[in-house]
Amino acid sequence: MLTVFVDINSVSQVRVSFDVVSAETGAEEGAPVNAGPNPIAPEMKELVWGAGSFIVFLFLMRLFLVPKVRKGMASRYDSIRGDHEYASATRDAAQADVARYESAVAEIRSEAARRLDAARQMLDKERSEKIAQVSAEIAKRRSAAEAEVAAARAAAQSQIVSAVTAVTTRATQIAVGVSPDASVVSRSVQQAMEGASK
């Protein structure tokens, strides 16, 4: 044990003495150790204990301790690596499932779009056909109605002509006492009506 005695009697005298005794010198406790071998030179007992300790420690570490710690580390790393590989495989499988699902969804969407297009085309076609059919029916009915109107108009016109002819003939007979030719009167009335309608 290193013991330090400090004796400070005055500011100008600070003295420190050490009480260390070396086993080699055999000096008594309390006496300063200046003698003995070089302090830098290795002492045999330190060499023996240091070397012995290291060799025993190395022997234990080399044969038992490090291999056991290393084995434990390796087994845990293998386990972690296995878990990691399992996680990777699971993730890959999940990604494949997702890809399959997305592919199926895309296919279904494509099929739906295709069916929608077909339905739309069919509806367009049906609508066009219906429109054409209705248009034709309308045209047919319109032409029939027009023919009917024309016939009615012609009949009405004929009745008006005959009535006006009769009135005109009778008025002329009353006025001048001579009955005019009915065909001439009728033609004149017809010309007058045609002129008025223009």
């Binding site: 330090v4 400070i8 290291f54």
Partner: protein, 257 residues
Amino acid sequence: MIINSVLSFEFPPINELLRWRDVVPGLNKVGLIAVIAALVGTLLFLSAARKDPKVAPKGTRNLAEVGVEFIENNIIMQTMGRDGLGWTPFLLTLFVFVYLCNVPGIIPFIQMPATARMAIPMFLAVLVWVIFNVQGIKHQGFFGYFKSVLFPPGVPKALYILVTPIEFISTLIVRPFSLAVRLFANMLAGHLLLVIFALLSEAMFQARDKILIPIGVLPFFMLVFLTGFEVLVAFLQAYIFTILAAVYIAGAVHPEH
């Protein structure tokens, strides 16, 4: 007056600071620290080895695994490559032992790094020297190894007169010497610095002249700072010793590197 006081401070002879009485016959403090270092290292790894490796590591198991990975990733893979992983037990033992011999320099009431004495650094350096030479001879053959050491390829033949003696001295003589002295001298210097500032602080705090007492705070702060610095030095010296051992072994096994 203060300067006179400081200048009159007498530092003890270095022999008194480094040589210790026997705790029991044939075993002094430095030897005891080496034994405790080996014991602590063994108990640490024994405790780590007994824990369930399947669960997340914590405590001693975590410390041991961090040590193993530190040696493998930061020393072996950097110097020897994957082929050098077989050296993990030796280099890990070397690192742990040197570190645990360094650290007592800052532990209160122990305050002596075992590596601040020459015996342990010298033994470890000689061990590394023997190992890298044996490995070199084993992998390259006797003549092949000494040829690669003494006659490095790519050097003009005329320069071998100069290079060969230099390589002989640097590789076969200076390497173990520098390896041992680097560790020993760093730890000894740190130990002496701590002693100097501890003694100076104590002397000033106990001075009769009251003006010296507040000034004693300065060496005390320096003592605290250097104690923290020695924590770093203890780790760094263990790391340097181990990585140089790995570099020497790798150089002997794979001279092309």
